[in-house]
């Protein structure tokens, strides 16, 4: 629940770097692979936008799970 609130706040202030980190944290604790990949995708997009160093490992995770190229 706390993560949801933080995500909403980061969206409200259009803080892409924070969104990358928050979604990545959500992905790391998600219960299913589909949920992990959904949240990793969200994190990856905001990492791309903000040039966040997380982008590389998020992309690698998605490719490894055949969710990205």
């Amino acid at each position: 629940m706390q993560l949801d609130i933080q995500v909403q706040a980061a969206h409200a202030r259009q803080d892409s770097a924070a969104l990358a980190e928050l979604y990545a944290a959500g992905s790391a604790t998600a219960q299913t692979l589909d949920e992990q990949c959904f949240l990793a995708t969200q994190a990856y997009i905001f990492a791309l936008e903000s040039n966040h160093p997380l982008a590389e490992q998020l992309h690698a995770f998605l490719v490894q799970n055949r969710r990205d190229a």
Binding site: S16, D34, E35, Q36, C37, F38, L39, A40, T41, Q42, Y44, I45, F46, A47, L48, E49, S50, N51, H52, A55, L62, R67, D68, A69
Partner: protein
Amino acid sequence: MEPFSDLEAVQNPVARARGLANAHYTDLSVYEVEKHALLFRQWAGLGVAADIPQIGDAKPVDFLDVPLVMIRDRSNRVRVFQNICRHRGMILIDAPKKIEGAIRCPYHSWCYATDGRLISTPHVGGPGINTHEDIDRDALGLIEVASYIWRDIIWVNLSGTAPAFEIAMAEPMERWSEFDQPLFHGGADSRFELALNTNWKLAVENYCESYHLPWVHPGLNSYSRLEDHYNIQSAGCYSGQGTTVYRQLTGNRAEKFPDFKNLSSKWNQAAEYLAIYPNVLLGTHRDHAFAVIIAPLGPEKSIEHVHLYYATDATEPTLRAQNTAQWKSVLEEDIFVVEGMQRGRHGPGFDGGRFSPAMDAPTHCFHAWVAKTLTEAQNEPAQHSPASAFAPAP
């Protein structure tokens, strides 16, 4: 629309020529034809590189209703793209900004690199699945517009059909080759805009000639007289005027702007003012230069974006502000003229007017270019169809 009936008379020698008919200044359908023939198919001025000085800087510009964005990419190259996502046609960037990493579409977050490549398509194959066999990212990059930087101006050829810039603009580039050296934009105090209730062509036509100087610019004429000016014209490319008595601006402590380097002695007292067809007005002097980019906003509205440049990045602010004020005053003196001619184009008895054979040759040169270009376009109707223009390669 019906073929133009006035173009032959416009292309007569200056002594016998008529000017363009009223419809070229007032009629929306003519404006649309001219938009394609005279602007989209040429190398037109869009903006200045000084607007996007740092890597990642992006500035959206609507040019004749086409949404474009100027971007300085990761390799420090200025590029111009259509400002639309290849997914749903959403506007990508709606205000000047710094692209820190990728350009993210605000709708479904498709992401593009600053060089235009489509690099991510989130959830395109379903939630958490970012690829789909039918979505070829390599074929869905941003639609790039041909562009070229000369004298800091970002020139664009929207149709992609013009000759290479260096070929199309070989003559003015050669004419001012001595000034082919770094230009430093004066910054925030060296730019301004003038909104004009006039067709864009009248701003070009007025700029071309010195005939009006004694009447409209008496201050300028007090030291640079009409007889000190000469006409400049090159059919199909540019025209303008020069003076042989340029006098440098001098501050209260006798300070002056530093000169551009290694100029020939001609430029000690000379200055030249060129209208580069279609929509860019340039001026150069030993110690500064300026550029006016005319953005047409409709048949009877335009805006002039004015930028002043210097030979170094360390000019004196007070003198710079004085120079900006001086040029602003001169260009403002022209407003009643271009707006008055525009109102005059609603007089049904006006037949396009006549030209002074001695004084109006540069203006007629522009009219003749317009007439010739429109004549050629009329003979190639399929090539300037709005529907087919600017489409990406299949």
